[in-house]
Every structure is written in C-alpha cells, then in structure tokens.
Amino acid sequence: MAETLIPREFSSAPIGIGRRITNYFATFAALAAIVLVLLPLGAIFAYLIYRGIGSINWAFLTQTPKPVGEAGGGMANAIAGSVLILGIASALGVPIGIGAGIYLAEYGRNRFGDLIRFTADVLNGVPSIVIGIVAYGLVVLTQGHFSALAGGVALAIMMIPTITRATEEMLLLVPNTLREASYGLGVPRWRTTLSISLRTATSGVITGVMLAFARVAGETAPLLFTAFGNQYWNWKISQPTAALSLQVFTYAISPFDEWHRQAWAGALILIFLIVLAVTAVRVATKYGTLSGA
C-alpha cells in the first residue's frame, strides 16, 4: 500500500550532487555567519588590549587620578565606583525585574498583563539619556545632590524590562506538567511558582539578568547627571561617585595624550570586569547543576 503513495525512487535514490552542493553551501553559510558575529568582538578585544594594556600597572589599579599635567595616577576609585553603582542597580533591578516576570508568566494572562508587557517593551526602547533625566528628577532633585544611588536607580530602570521579559519567556517554557505534578503533591501555588517553575527556568532567567547587566555596565549617558563622577575615593551611596564609563568618557574627549592612554586602559578594565562577572555567575550556577539535568 505504501509504495503507491510514495514513488520508490524517492526513498531509494542516491543523494544527488545538487543536494550535496546545497549541503556544503548551507554549512559554509552558517560558519561564515559565526565568523561575522565573532569578528567585531575579537577585533574590539584585540584593539583594546593593544591600546590599553601598556597603561595598566599597579598604580592604575590602586591610585586615584592625578591633576592634569602630572603623570601617573589611576582609576581605582572609578573601578570601585562602577562596582558600587552596578551593585545598587542589580540589587534594585534584578528582584523587581524577576518579580514582574513571574507576575506576567503565572498570573498576567489578562488586560493588565498586556499593559505591563507593552510598557516594558516601550521602556526597553527609551534612550538611556532620558532614563538618566528621570533618575535625576526622582533621586538627585529629592536628595539635593548627585549620588551613586541615583546612578544605580537609572541603571536599574534600564535593566528591569530586559529581565522582566526574559523571565516571563523562560517561565512560559516550563512545561505545565511540572506545575501539575507540584499541585498534585499538595504544594501551594506560590511555592510551586518559586520552587518549581522559577527553579526550572533558572538558567534562562540568569541569561536574561546577565544580558541586562552587561548592557548597563558600559552605559555612560544615564550616569552623567546622576552618579556625576568624582576624582576621589567615595564609598557612600549618597555621594557623587566615579564610574569607569564616565572616566573613560571624560578622558577620551580631553586634549591630553596621557589621559587618552588611560581612557583605553579604563575601557579594557571595564570589558574585563563584565566578562569576569558574567563568567563568575555562569560558573557558580553550573556548579550546582546535577548530571542529566
């Protein structure tokens, strides 16, 4: 019966030259795409290392900037400031973003959910300088001065939509049969959401968080009139604070060769820190994973 439906030649024919060419061509195209994706990244890294590595030394990592004209000095305070601001941004943005994502996926199949989804997508497209102005209005004007907190709030606002949407998408991928298994054991819904759905989606949610983190880590515009920058050490979240991206920006547009060299080095350190943070989180989450999971 089957042979009347499918011609015999179809299933038994040798794979023709045309198909082989198509196969090679498609494989080649996929490889070429990978190279095209990796090339700019590699080029940026290589060039940053080439220009920046010469200015990185112990002083650069441990000292604050020297006055104009004096050689030496470093960006230690900006490195610390970036860590501080990104810490505040993550502490605010990650829980709010994940919380909103949970709401959208588990409870938000309604009009209100659609509204939040739309708002998050629009927020994602708002220029970062505008978000800086919002944080300026919210925090700087209220406090009366620039601060690390204001910078952190600005970056947190930028992180939230990315994390929210990623969390939602990842939770929706968790099969409903797992939720049912949990309900069937008499586990309440909130507990199921946290311990089953969110836990199953963890690696995807972390990818979303890392994307958001990496995106804001290099942001300069939202920090211009929030964190503002600082030439000295500062550990108080209520005071103006230096950040690597700000320092690079200031140094890069300056007329001094020494500052240009330091700007390259600062950019290199910034990228290095982002890679370090992303890798550390990846390794930490891999460590707890079971075989066969």
């Binding site: 049969t177 069937g184 008499g186 836990r199």
Partner: protein
C-alpha cells in the same frame, strides 16, 4: 490504610462545554477501580475532579459531592489540603528536572515545610522501595537528576514521589501509556502491592490492563458513566449494549 471514594452527581465544565454529566459511583477502599472509555469521554477529567486538579485549568469548574473517606472534597476543604491526602500519577512521567532523585521523592514534604533530615531519609528510602526503584537508584540518589532516568524508571520515581506524602488514595491517569511492555508490567505489579495500603483509581486506554489490575470498572462515554460494576462482569456480561460494543472492540 486506604479510604473509600464516593462520588455523587458530579458535573464538570470546560468554559461552557459540559465534560461530565451527573457522575455517581464509588471506589471501595483498598481496591483498584479502573476507568475506561474512548478518547474524550471524560475519564481524565473525572479523576482530575477527585483531587480538584480540574479547576487549575482556566475557565474549568466542577460541582457535585465527592467524599474521600470523611473528607468532603467540594465543601469547605482547601484544594491544597485535599491534594496532600490524594496522590496523583500522570500520563507522562514528570519528574522535576532540576532536582536530584532524592529531592524529587522528598519534594512534596520539603516544599510543604517538612525538613527533618532523618525522617526524610527514611521516607525517601521507603517510598523508593515500595515503588520498586530503590535498588536501581540507591547509589546515585543525590548525584543524578530525576530526568536522567529511563521513562519507566521516571514513572516509578513519580509514583514514589506521590507515595512520600503518605496519601490515602492514589489516582493514576493512564500511568503506562508512555511506557514499554516491561515497564508497564512492573507498574502493574506495583499496583497489586499498593492496593494493600491505598485505594487506587486508574484511568486506562488498555482494556487488558483494566481487567488485570482492577476489581471494579467504570465505563465512560461522552461524559456519562454508562456502567459501573465488578471488572469481571463488565468484561464478560455487561448489562449495557454500549459497554459490550466497547469492550468487544466494536467501536472506540
């Protein structure tokens, strides 16, 4: 010890479509009761009404009287409490993929706030032994994910997980339909042993399976219970023509 189940005038809906009509039947304690019928006849919906899983689907609702022992399922008891007394095994094995084998079995207790390590160890071992899986997994309890097991092992893991919360009733929704004959045989053997301690309601597509494991059988058609009787009678001398047509393979 198992407890008996009494269902009176149970009706269930998906939105405006009525899926169950006036179901009245009993599943006696410490016996297996099979629910058979063609696809879409409402047998899955029926067992999902017994532990109020039906209403977790948006727009679904159920009405009627269901007594599990002295527990009035649709009157004044929270679904969460009910589900702690009624274990459920699903059609497709659904172990929690991020949890170890041990944590899968302990999940029902741990997630409900029970953390006594020594007792958990005991319960996990006992549940896995009852589910005839202990010997196969005892060396990798904490190392391997529940999802790393074979399909048949996964289903026995799910049975162990359901048993660990020490229910009185075990609902099985086509527990063997995704399994090979050997795994199916193991699970059927298991059902025989489980009857000593639990009341079992099993939905099945497989009529041989119903006749092998169950003392009582209910035949569903188009959301109605057509006939309910001793399994032997259903398969040899059914009183309804439609039951006879179904069990002799004339339709369905």
């Amino acid at each position: 010890m198992g407890v008996g189940i009494k269902v009176e005038k149970l009706n269930a809906w998906f939105g405006k479509t009525q899926a169950l009509h006036e179901i009245t039947m009993e599943a006696p304690a410490n016996h297996a009761t099979a629910v058979i019928g063609p696809s879409g006849c409402g047998k899955s919906t029926f067992v999902r009404c017994l532990n109020r899983m039906h209403e977790t689907i948006p727009d679904a609702k159920a009405e009627g009287r269901v007594m599990i022992g002295d527990l009035d399922v649709y009157n004044g008891t929270s679904p969460v409490q009910i589900r702690r007394r009624i274990g459920m095994v699903f059609q497709k094995p659904n172990p929690f993929p991020t949890m170890s084998i041990y944590d899968n079995v302990a999940a029902g207790l741990k997630l409900n706030g029970f953390h006594d390590r020594r007792k958990l160890n005991e319960i996990v071992e006992h549940s896995l032994k009852v589910a005839a899986l202990w010997d196969e997994v005892k060396d990798t309890l904490h190392k391997k994910s529940g999802a790393s097991l074979s399909g048949g092992q996964q289903q026995r893991l799910c049975i162990a997980r359901a048993l660990a919360v020490q229910p009185e009733v075990l609902l099985m929704d086509e527990p063997c339909s995704a399994l090979d004959p050997i795994s199916t045989g193991k699970i059927e053997e298991l059902i025989f042993q489980l009857k000593e301690d639990f009341t079992i309601v099993i939905v099945t597509h497989n009529m041989q399976q119903a006749s092998r494991v169950a003392e009582f059988t209910g035949f569903f058609l188009l959301g109605r219970l057509i006939e309910f009787d001793k399994t032997e009678k259903i398969f040899t001398t059914p009183s309804d023509k439609r039951t006879e047509d179904y069990v002799t393979g004339r339709f369905g």
